[in-house]
Symmetry: D2
Subunit: 414 residues, 4 copies
């Protein structure tokens, strides 16, 4: 049996294939207007694609969220926040207006903020910064990306923005040098498949779903996704949020990349763009994904119940198997399950082998559960935790559980 997902994606593409509205961006006249592609990468690293998903095109503005996250990585969130705001600009026309109180660009999804973010990336001068970005983007895409050959002249609009940012001290370097570097950033050649994989790193809290590399801080990713949600696609913050509800960013070359946190990275590609510079069929595809596939931030399914893969009596003990990124609601559900277990006199085993993340508050709660089992109910507790994911709030003394490396060890210990 073959997975039906690729066929399903093909079918979606077919729905919109005949729509030829929109125009090629005037700066990219040689693009193949008929190209159409979609790719989706899950947080466990599987990529599905359909259409011309291996066609190369310049990444353009889809580079913005990735560079923004990289700047946070390189200089820290606070330093980035000093130079770039987080509000929608409400101003499509010239993208140069700055926050009147701070002088900052409104956000990193408009050119002014993206140029400021580019300038914050590690590296001295145009070449080093462009190379730093090429290297990082290659890690995200999991193969070596290259710049388009014929590097365009920086457009006057971006030179204007660069000089203005220099005027208000939002960049410290030579504006023309910075803008040249930013122009190269936009000229990185990618495929729809590449972008989908890059987006999946955001969906997976900064960990690469394929290579497992920890590329970005979870807090930075959370921040970038928040800004994409309100500023990524339309100047009107509420419009995209209500109608699509997928944090996203488009590029003038016809790509749109989207992220559903904890679920998937998404990329679509179709070069004809509307008057706002968004790919016409790309927007249609995203609306389809949101409407028909329930891919919407506010459609997240319940997860409390599913935190623990198993909850059963096994070999004379209550056995609880946890999985994934463990957070408050998950341990809350676990605590309830433990509280209401049938046979309070049996020993308890917590199996953490499948746990991929364990927030501080979750560890505190699990520590409390263990302590109460030991102190209130006076039963033995074993925790299978070879990687020591549970280490901050493990009860000590009389309330301490037995920490073991395998399930067999756990049963031996009880």
């Amino acid at each position: 049996m073959k997975s039906p997902v690729p066929d399903y994606l093909d079918e979606i593409l077919d729905t919109y294939r005949s729509d030829t509205s929109g125009e090629l961006n005037s700066e990219l006249p040689d693009a193949d207007a008929d190209c159409l592609a979609i790719a989706i990468t899950s947080v466990d690293g599987v990529t599905y694609s359909a259409g011309d998903a291996d066609e190369r095109f310049p990444i353009e503005s889809m580079s913005k969220p990735f560079t923004y996250a990289l700047a946070m990585h390189d200089v820290g969130t606070d330093a980035v926040h000093e130079k770039i705001g987080v509000e929608p600009s409400g101003d499509a026309f010239n993208e140069i207006s700055l926050e009147s109180s701070t002088g900052r660009p409104f956000n990193a999804m408009i050119n002014a903020g993206a140029i400021a973010a580019h300038c914050l990336v590690d590296g001295d001068g145009c070449d080093e910064r462009a190379e730093r970005i090429r290297g990082h983007f290659s890690e995200l895409a999991d193969h070596d990306l290259e710049f388009e050959e014929a590097a365009a002249e920086p457009p006057h609009r971006n030179l204007a923005i660069g000089h203005m940012l220099r005027t208000v001290d939002m960049i410290d370097d030579d504006p023309e040098d910075v803008v040249r570097g930013y122009t190269r950033q936009c000229a990185l050649a990618v495929t729809t498949r590449d972008v989908s994989i890059m987006a999946s790193v955001f969906a997976n809290r900064g960990i690469h779903p394929v290579t497992g590399a920890h590329l970005l801080e979870p807090s930075s990713v959370r921040h970038v996704l928040s800004v994409m949600a309100t500023c990524g696609m339309y100047d009107a913050a509420g419009d995209w949020m209500t109608s699509v509800g997928i944090p996203a960013k488009s590029g003038i070359s016809g790509g749109i990349m989207g992220v559903l946190p904890g679920q998937v990275g998404i990329a679509v590609f179709s070069p004809r763009v509307d008057s706002r510079g968004n790919s016409v069929r790309g927007v249609e595809l995203f609306e389809h994904l949101s409407r028909d596939m329930g891919l919407h931030l506010m459609e997240t399914p319940p997860f409390g119940q599913s935190l623990f893969r198993r909850a059963e009596i096994r070999d004379g003990a209550h056995y609880y198997e946890l999985q994934g990124a463990v957070q408050f609601a998950g341990v809350e559900a676990l605590a309830r399950e433990v509280e209401n277990r049938d046979q309070a006199e049996l020993p308890v085993v917590f199996d953490l082998l499948s746990v991929t993340g364990f927030s501080d508050v979750s560890q505190r709660l699990l520590g409390d559960v263990v302590r109460r089992l030991r102190e209130d109910d006076d039963v033995p507790v074993a925790v299978v935790d070879p990687d020591e994911v549970f280490r901050e709030h493990v009860p000590a003394g009389a309330a301490a559980p037995t920490i073991v490396r395998s399930l067999d060890d756990a049963y031996d210990a009880l």
Copy 2:
């Protein structure tokens, strides 16, 4: 063993108890300024609370999202969209400015939009509408709510808004009558616990987690949450989204209600408010929940893997147990699991007993999986589906599975 969650909430409250900054709202001088409460209700209907969670206070602006959703229920999304926008207003001062192109209030979270929403609720005149709202809110809170006794005079600001809405045809009724009704809506007495339960209905896609009643359409809930995310707390859309990331709405009486879709409803209460009218300690609590507990829209944990509770070989068949609200990413993961199963010659059982929701695209995908198992792999397939949740895309003819009412029937049928 007692669940540690209530103790944990107590501890959070203690962290902020000594902060007495902010002022009582001038229209509510008799409130007990020291009150402090928090309540959290999970989507499976359990409410934890701490502090003065049973203290009564007027619901005020926290009523806005609920009335907005009710208006969509009563007259439909399109009719509501004609009268009320979805964009942040960026204008705290007088809350009366309307969209210049349409004349609509910017959104339903500011007074202008809330009054327009109130007017759309079923009912002739002030009394009927107020009673309709009281009834619906009582269903949400799962007990009978009452109006505060001394009904206040409608403030001049709201009368101004009412007359202006009438001028631009955003309301059709007598403005003073509408505003009187809206004033009563705001005077509904609730407790922190009530609000938490009400919020959990939004978290649970419109189904009451305790009573199971289907109170609101999922699409309306999704829409309201989207608007709360960008317009609920601050005029600046990006600020709350990046710093807290929980769709929320505050009331001048000191309450804030929040919703994490698929997870929890949240309510806090502390009557001293800041210059924007938001509860000082309430905002601090929300920031704490977001930061320390990872309750943030962009922190949603992975769910693809957890869709199916079991995936094992049981009694000579591949047994897959699905659960919860089944959506695209879940079936996608299932398809992969099936594709890669060890023994392709064994029969396959899909157990849908724990499925609570089944989107159209998911049914299509499951239908394709079944068809391919039957046609490509030529193995028997049984689906345990007594409630017929899988009914739109069940393959017919040679590709049809056996639909049974219980697991035992499934094994009998194979």
Copy 3:
């Protein structure tokens, strides 16, 4: 011989008579759409008119500058400035937005500011204020004005504005009472001829050109005209200023009144209005007056030379006859003329009989001229000044001139 001016005005009307574009305002459906009138009143009290200049219609918003000036008269400029700004609002749509820093209406030419101005006029309650305004307007028009019989219900928009002004403390009285009074103000019945005469009081610095009554302070008039110049007609301050350059205010009933300071009051009337509520043919007439007749603020002709009606040697003395409102530039020119006079040994006579105003700085300069004639040139000086218009800076002692009551006395005295 008859003056050709009336014929000329007739001709102008004929040029635009056939233009029937625009619509009657929906609240004034019974107006005679074909009416067309113009009237011009010079600062010496002569009124020319053409067309239906004696047709009655409600004054509507043309009342705004007059009530604004009256409010300054009644409570002083500072008190008015606290409640009403002087900036164009740039916001045609709902006329309710207030200055964010002060809460004030942007200016007195939009409804919000006009209602605030109405409320500042002397009088307790609706009836007294409306009667105070009727009385003052009757003085301006030089005959008794009456309210239109069927008083309209206050429109919801104005009620909205009233309540909002009350909210931000820009009015202190009951909003509905204030708005009812304002509605009556707008319903005062006037003719085009009336409005032209009323406007001429502004053109003549607050002195009625016909009755000679001092009705308004010159500083208030100057202020009102400044506001009319930037806020009177279009939301865009620069448009009307560059294209017409006549301080003006229109009313929804189809009238426009304009003022060229020191020159003329102007009124036109044609009930069909454009989408901004300005009389279509009225605007055309004003553009014609500005373009073809050179009636533009920036077209003021030189006046320095013309300050003194005569400058000649008469009966053995230098005789200088001054006239009109004497200001700096006039006395400056006089000083030069005196300095360069032919026969420095002759006595000097200054004839002030035709002087109608004499600013402080002008008196200082004339005093200096007299002193230097007496001290430097040692010649006798006589000043004909029976009304003592020259009294603040008359040199004393050896430098004193002879002050006399008639020209004959002057020659006698020398």
Copy 4:
């Protein structure tokens, strides 16, 4: 006797001499902060000055209105209007925002509009345009002006503006070249006396008061003055208009130039500027001139009466001597005087020797007066008009007057 005016100006300067608030502009650190000067030039070409009126300083933004007028001269009003608006920007911060509907700079008084105006001046490239401007400004100042020696580097802000203007096609040339030329324009060295004389050309409708050269079209001057009135000094259009009422423009070097049409050109200089970049003592001086000297647009004295210098019976004829720029209101008054003359049977003489301008409508009206005198009253009419200023509407045939070259000829002819 010496004119008291210079002493008076000295006195005004003394009033403000001790005020040392404000700071030198950071780009002009070598300026002499204590300099203080004032100069006033009347429309008949006399300049009074006081203080350091011959100190040289860069003209900076005071160049803007002059270049704007020159651009209209070189390419016509319509071509200029296509590229530059006439509205206040309301946006002090970065001066780069452009009209959203047209892409034009808001007005020519902000840098964006001034750079666009510079680019419209005749000349190929930076050097030619700068030289063209230097030449024209030298004509205005009536002596050869020079550039400051050390030409500054163009500031980043202006480079930003240049590139942005190029982006939106408001300039067609290389942005860096244009901005370099604009930087030189701003570096022209002038004295307070120079600026006062330059301003007097605007006050005199484009004719140089000293040289008599016709340098600018009256309609361009009218247009520039209108824009200065609303956009020249503060971002708020109404503030300067109500408080000072003199069309004006300041420069960052500490100068302010102002124009009262038909009266005077004004220049002040004091290098310490406030946070808006306006000279502190310069603004005080302008407020003084407006308040104490009655120099305010809305304070223009009556001029109707003073149009004709003489109106008397002389040698058996009614003799009317007209003067200055003859406009509608003047001929209107003349017509009245003629209509009411004492002895209707006497011949009539109109003396146009002192007429400096004669608008079309004025000629029409005078033509009608002549025709009626000839036809209705049957009296001889002579017009003294050697320069043929009255030529468009002279009646012909039986209604024709006798046109003569001197007063003696007139009496001979009758």
